[in-house]
């Protein structure tokens, strides 16, 4: 069979049911093979949408998302999506067409060196030079993308290779001598960590996306109860721990919850699992957990010692290591420490502080209400900006993997295509895309994809006619000299949504929140809710640049 047919057969072998792609000259053969396959191609409106959708799909389906693009501009349009997946360790296989091997390197029409471009933003990539390599490469790509620390892998397939004959069989076992992820943690390191934890008086657990990737949510709950230790999560770790449990403190970092931020600064042992001490979490590094002995568990050895030097490093899979730790941890009880943490939780003067005008619609009121009304089958995706941070603070998912956001790269335009992918991975779920007028306009073309696929996605659009987060930065760091942040050309979003055949709601005051959200949740239709909010609403708490994370500005006027 032809190389292109072989590649599609290999995707079927890997269990792929849905791919996200955009055809073009160099992938004609691939699309012809797709036409005859059991795989459904979701035609997105740009390749960036395809990459983000594959990422949203991967996060819910728990297997690599697949996106396909043609050579040149098709391939470069994938780049932002690939980088987004790379930063958040999302398993993805990106397939790009390439000009025929015979003219590679001649600056041919729609030629770009995509393996060169994506080297720093993929876990691995391939330029296929012979059709017979295809079965081996596809198997390797899925293996690399989904094991160890997951990430994107790109396969660049020249047109003439795709058109030539492939006789190779799909290999059973694959052996990559240079790739052996560590799964099991070192026993003596685990013993040492447990010894420290057993002696701890004020422990804190700090978790990131590693828990979600490893499927260690239930083990984490058991661990926290055994240690009687409160849990702080990163943006990627949201959904790793049930919020209803009183050990849940919320997100930690520059927009973190007060209890989480203060507890991290006052704990005597910090147990970090699948989190990487990102600068948005630690703010001023020397002050972060400065009184604590740090135990760092991560599947990627390069994360250990990169940003902070731990007392006890443990390389391996979170679930496997927690299991081993539970064997030698005593049941602890820290009533005084937990009472102290409880006292740091937000009060009326904390993050729930509202202005005097109760009628005024704010992001936090809407997202707080969404959180109150959420169900076991609700998935929230977000874009990037103020709404994202408010959602991270106030929205508490009731299901695992219930909160999907671009963390590391902070990619505006992620929310809607990610919602498309998430909805396709879980058709029975109710998917909300929480977005802002800035982010939404980066990729709202994917409304057409949602429409074509009959996806009842709910777009919760916060319109303040501003790039709110940039405006907030200008407020705090540029002496309120606002520039290039208001969006005077904004369209009528309601008419725009109607043009795509969506149900629409306009929300202007507090009294409408509950009713509109309830209707949207049950209407089973693609829906856009435009929430008209003021650009004066800032994200609080905020930790200013260079400060310790326990030095928060909690509300407007707070010094």
């Amino acid at each position: 069979m032809k190389g292109s047919e072989a590649l599609i057969k290999c995707l079927e072998y890997e269990g792929v049911k849905t791919v996200f792609g955009y055809p073009g000259g160099t992938v004609l053969g691939l699309y012809e093979a797709l036409r005859h396959s059991s795989i459904h191609n979701v035609l997105t409106r740009t390749e960036q949408g395809a990459a983000h959708a594959a990422s949203g799909y991967a996060r819910i389906a728990g297997m690599p998302g697949v996106c396909i693009a043609t050579s040149g501009p098709g391939a470069t349009n994938l780049v932002t999506g690939i980088a987004t997946a790379f930063m958040d360790s999302i398993p993805m296989v990106a397939i790009t067409g390439q000009v025929p091997k015979s003219i590679v390197g001649t600056d041919a029409f729609q030629e770009v060196d995509i393996t060169g471009i994506t080297k720093p933003i993929t876990k691995h990539n391939y330029l296929v030079t012979e059709a017979n390599q295809i079965p081996q490469i596809v198997r390797e790509a899925f293996h690399i993308a989904s094991t160890g620390r997951p990430g994107p892998v790109l396969i660049d397939l020249p047109k003439d290779v795709a058109d030539s004959e492939c006789t190779a069989k799909i290999p059973g076992q694959i052996d990559l001598p240079g790739y052996k992820p560590t799964i099991k943690g070192h026993p003596s390191q685990i013993k040492l960590a447990c010894k420290i934890l057993n002696q701890s008086k004020k422990p804190v657990i700090y978790v990131g996306g590693g828990i979600v990737h490893s499927g260690a949510e239930a083990l984490l709950l058991e661990l926290s109860e055994r240690l009687d230790a409160p849990v702080a999560v990163t943006l990627m770790g949201k959904g790793a721990f049930p919020y209803k449990n009183n050990l849940y403190m919320g997100m930690v970092g520059i927009h973190g919850c007060p209890a989480a931020n203060i507890a991290v600064c006052n704990c005597d042992v910090l147990l970090a699992i699948g989190a990487r001490f990102d600068d948005r979490v630690t703010s001023n590094m020397p002050d972060f957990a400065s009184n604590a002995q740090i135990i760092h568990i991560d599947v990627d050895p390069a994360e250990i010692g990169k940003n902070i030097i731990p007392k006890v490093p443990i390389v391996g899979d979170a679930a496997s290591i927690i299991k081993d730790m539970l064997k030698c941890l005593n049941q602890a009880s820290h009533p005084e420490w937990l009472a102290q943490v409880e006292a740091w939780r937000p009060t009326e003067q904390g993050v729930y502080y509202e202005g005097k005008d109760d009628e005024a619609l704010t992001m936090r009121k809407v997202l707080h209400q969404l959180s109150e009304m959420t169900r076991d089958n609700v998935i929230v995706t977000t874009d990037v900006g103020q709404h994202q941070m408010v959602a991270a603070q106030f929205y508490k998912a009731r299901r695992a993997k219930g909160f999907i956001s671009s963390g590391g790269l902070g990619t505006m335009g992620y929310g809607l295509p990610a919602a498309v992918g998430a909805q396709l991975a879980s058709p029975e779920s109710i998917v909300f895309c929480v977005t802002g007028d800035g982010s939404f306009q980066m990729t709202f073309n994917e409304l057409a994809t949602a429409s074509a696929e009959n996806l009842p996605i709910k777009v919760l659009l916060f319109n303040n006619n501003n790039l709110g987060m940039v405006r907030q930065l200008q407020k705090f760091y540029m002496k309120e000299n606002y520039y290039s942040v208001d969006m005077p050309g904004n369209p009528d979003f309601i008419k725009l949504a109607q043009a795509y055949g969506m149900e629409t709601y306009t929300m202007e005051h507090t009294g409408q929140i509950q009713e509109i959200l309830a209707e949207a949740m049950d209407n089973n239709k693609a829906t856009l809710i435009e929430c008209k909010v003021s650009c004066e609403e800032m994200v609080y708490p905020v930790v200013l640049c260079g400060r310790s994370i326990d030095e928060m500005i909690l509300f407007k006027g707070d010094k």
Partner: protein, 159 residues
């Protein structure tokens, strides 16, 4: 501090670019990098000399490990090893000064590999310091061109 890394990699297209790119992107400073085949045709060895402190070199090695084609990394800095580098130096010299230069070449146990009416090419091998010294000694005669291979290293004895 100067570290010498001996890195075994799969002999595949693009591996060198990947590794060079990794050093560039993470702002690690390569002093020299030499690549060649080994006793196995499918495996190449890179000898990389990096100027880095302890924490940086640990990151360098960990990041290198993440490259799928990298098979083994040894930091041989603290071990007993033989290091060699080869240099070709073209010196502008006429017949009058030629014998002086030839004496220097003898002292360093280097070799003259080409003679033209106005120039010589000298080949020298040795440790970096020796090559620096011969370069310095020849500088007064007018060096026109220098090509150095970068350091090669091999740990002594059988392990």
């Amino acid at each position: 501090m100067r570290h010498t890394l001996s890195v075994l990699v799969e002999n595949k297209a693009g591996v060198l670019a990947k590794i060079a790119g990794l050093f560039g992107r993470r702002a690690y400073n390569i002093e020299s990098l030499a690549v060649g085949t080994t006793e196995r045709p499918d495996i190449s060895r890179m000898t990389i000399v990096v100027d880095a402190d302890e924490r940086e070199i640990e990151q360098v090695m960990k990041q290198l490990h993440k490259v799928i084609e990298v098979l083994k990394i040894s930091n041989i800095t603290e071990e007993e090893y033989i290091e060699r580098e080869l240099v070709l130096i073209k010196v502008q010299v006429d017949a009058a000064k030629r014998s002086e230069v030839m004496q220097i070449v003898d002292v360093f146990r280097a070799r003259i590999v080409d003679i033209s009416p106005n120039s010589l090419i000298i080949e020298a091998t040795g440790e970096q310091k020796k090559l620096d010294a011969i370069q310095e000694a020849l500088r007064t005669y007018g060096i026109k061109e220098i090509v150095r291979t970068g350091e090669l290293a091999m740990v002594r004895g059988l392990k």
